[in-house]
């Protein structure tokens, strides 16, 4: 079985009379270490698929098996642990906590995984040095540029050594130079063997991806990695 195996995934939103089929039967297999890009028009279900894969949402039908574990059968606590151990997230809007320093933001996930304070300090500092922000660890997010903030978010997403890094338009709020920085970092991450699933409209991002999937109306309409 593949590293990630998605079968018959459906997710509906009922809005009064209208039923929106955000995902309408998705089957997908992803191997470990792939760099996969999800593309498609707005409303095609890319974010929905990503959130299901990240264990933030549950499908109405279908199953997702990651690394042998059927996450669609986990309870809330199990999903929390899955997110904590397997998943790193990067968002379009960074989602850094404004009142925390960059160091504290990067440390934050380790609070919930029970890493001791000195270890957290050390690992977060190292991670920030790695993304080129070693001199910004005491800064607040508002004192950083967008690209720098997203680099902090990448450091945070990777801090618990997730097997899968998920990005929902991680360059969506960045100009081309900053996007380039983030992209290079993602490529670097992928080279270390982490699996990457990134939703994007940005052709430069898809240029680096090893596999591009197009979605439309909650279905996969093309998959250049399908053999």
């Amino acid at each position: 079985m593949a590293f990630i195996s998605i079968r018959g995934l459906r997710r509906r939103y009922v809005m009064g009379e209208v039923i929106v089929k955000a995902l309408d039967g998705v089957d997908l297999e992803v191997e470990e270490g792939e760099f996969l890009c999800l593309m498609g028009p707005s409303g095609s279900g890319k974010s929905t698929l990503l959130n299901l894969l990240g264990g933030l949402d549950s499908p109405d039908e279908g199953s997702i098996v990651v690394n042998g574990q059927e996450i669609t059968k986990l309870d809330q606590n199990g999903l929390s642990l899955y997110r904590q151990r397997q998943i790193g997230y990067i968002f379009q809007s960074f989602n850094l906590i404004a009142t925390m320093t960059t160091l504290q933001n990067v440390e934050f996930p380790m609070m919930f995984s029970g890493v001791s304070r000195p270890d957290r300090r050390r690992r977060a500092t190292e991670a920030l040095i790695k993304v080129g922000l070693g001199d910004r660890i005491r800064h607040r997010p508002t004192e950083l540029s967008g690209g720098q903030q997203q680099r902090v978010a990448v450091a945070r997403g990777l801090i618990n050594n997730p097997t899968i890094l998920l990005g929902d338009e991680p360059t969506g709020n960045l100009d081309s130079k900053m996007s380039e920085e983030i992209l290079n970092m993602l490529v670097e991450v992928n080279r270390n063997g982490q699996t990457l699933v990134v939703v994007t409209h940005d052709p430069r991002v898809s240029g680096y991806a090893g596999r591009i999937i197009h979605m439309l109306d909650g279905r996969i309409v093309s998959d250049d990695g399908k053999h």
């Binding site: 990240g54 933030l56 929390s80 997230y89 989602n95 609070m111 919930f112 304070r117």
Partner: protein
């Protein structure tokens, strides 16, 4: 999540909304300080009252009246305190001794050489003297014909007589301790209202301008001048009383008592009324029942006598009922103050609901990075508990401060009203512990609902929240 991390996170979260935290905690401060002040005050008053009573009189003595004395007019079922009743009561289990306790109600003056003094004359059964709880300063504590036992302060009241006062003043006119006004009350019982809150000390200070001296009356023979009026004619008689014993001071009104045998008293009464008293048929005014030295036995005996249709009263029963009355007052005041804390709890809940709303995105993020439900619950409940704790700490400090100020004013008031002022405010150790614990509990309870709202947020929507 580790405890230390939880605390650090909670502190930094509180710090970033400190304005609201302080305002919310103010509600708790008001409630907690109200609890502290009100309970400290009622505890102080309770303690003081109970102390005053306990220091007063002998705890195992029960004073018995026939019911009509208090019950008012004409109850035909009234049972008189006759010698048969004395016999009956003395057979109640736990009763050690029973004696009539009869005060002489005629006008009297005591004389010694050129000095004049006063005392309350009581007749008792000489055989119960050993059970009266008398502490002797001097003498053998024996009552025999024309030999009396006197309280410690009788000798204090003696003063040089000037011719003018001698001819006009009678025994009861000075309002002094020897006055006959508290007739019929238990030993020193005239001071019940005075004992409350330690005010008044049970007697008014004498305003005599005459020089008074403390006399050691032990072994002396006092002259007792009695006056009676018969059809407008005034008649006097003088009786010689030898002071056989002097008691140690108890601090109560009984220090002014003069105890004599019932036989001696009977002859005084006979002369004063012109006929023999009808104690055997119409009963004594009051009895003194001495129970075993045990609060419960005293209470049981008191109840038993009451059940037999008499008014029975002991210091123990008064202390008991006062103490439970004060406990009730304490509970009511504490309850009222607790309502203030419940209002504060609503404030905390409100602040926390607002915090959850404002931090929706952050909660979504926490979920996305692997926070478990119980982590999120603990963060928000701990924040609410900490607001309660903060308010509780401040409330206890402020409450204790206010209580001290109240105490100062009360002490000033009490000392100006002439009694030795002890503290009316007592903060027992459990009070701050309880107050802080209760505030924390209130905070915690108030945090539960907001915390569950945080947990129930859908992470996907929360992360989209603006």
């Amino acid at each position: 999540m580790r405890l230390l991390d939880l605390v650090t996170l909670v502190l930094s979260n509180l710090n970033r909304m400190r304005g609201r935290v302080v305002m919310t905690a103010m509600g708790v401060v008001i409630g907690t300080s109200a609890i502290v002040v009100l309970i400290a005050l009622s505890t102080g008053l309770k303690q003081q009252t109970v102390d005053n009573f306990s220091s007063f009189g002998t705890l195992n003595q029960i004073t018995v009246f026939s019911r009509s004395r208090f019950g008012g007019s004409s109850d035909e079922d009234t049972v008189s305190l006759t010698p048969e009743i004395i016999k009956e009561i003395s057979q109640i289990e736990g009763v050690v001794a029973v004696t009539p306790y009869e005060q002489f109600s005629g006008q009297t003056t005591l004389r010694l050489n050129r000095m004049q003094g006063f005392g309350s004359l009581y007749g008792i059964d000489p055989s119960v003297v050993p059970y009266m709880g008398f502490e002797l300063a001097e003498g053998d504590a024996l009552l025999s014909r024309n030999t009396v036992i006197i309280g410690a302060s009788v000798g204090d009241g003696f003063s040089e007589v000037t011719t003018s006062t001698r001819s006009t003043s009678g025994g009861g006119d000075r309002g002094g301790p020897g006055g006959n006004r508290n007739g019929g009350m238990p030993p020193g019982g005239g001071g019940i209202e005075g004992m409350l809150f330690g005010m008044g000390g049970g007697r008014s200070e004498e305003e005599s301008t005459e020089e008074e001296s403390t006399l050691d009356l032990y072994g002396r023979t006092l002259l007792l001048d009695m006056t009676r009026s018969n059809d407008g004619e005034t008649d006097t008689r003088t009786v010689r009383l030898r002071v056989g014993s002097v008691l140690e001071s108890t601090g109560g009104n009984e220090d002014y008592n003069i105890y004599m045998s019932m036989g001696d008293l009977e002859s005084l009464v006979t002369w004063s009324n012109g006929k023999r008293p009808t104690w055997n048929s119409s009963g004594y005014t009051q009895l003194l029942v001495i129970a075993e030295q045990d609060a419960q036995i005293t209470l049981d005996v008191t109840k038993e006598i009451t059940d037999r249709g008499f008014n029975a009263m002991s210091t123990t029963s008064v202390v008991e009922s006062l103490s439970s009355t004060f406990s009730l007052i304490q509970a009511v005041l504490g309850g009222i103050a607790s309502i203030a804390l419940l209002v504060a709890a609503i404030g905390i809940a409100n602040t926390m609901v607002m915090a959850v709303l404002e931090r929706t995105r952050e909660i979504g993020l926490m979920k996305a990075i692997g926070a478990r439900n119980r982590d999120i619950l603990s963060v928000f409940i701990t924040e609410a508990t900490a607001i309660g704790l903060l308010g509780g700490l401040m409330g206890v400090l402020i409450g204790a401060g206010v209580a001290q100020i109240v105490d100062l004013f009360a002490a000033g008031y009490l000392s100006s009203s002439g009694s030795e002022a002890s503290s009316v405010v007592v903060i027992p150790l459990w009070l701050p512990v309880f107050a802080i614990g209760f505030s924390m509990f209130i905070g915690m309870a108030a945090g539960i609902y907001p915390a569950f709202r945080a947990v129930q947020l859908d992470p996907v929507n929360a992360l989209k929240y603006e």
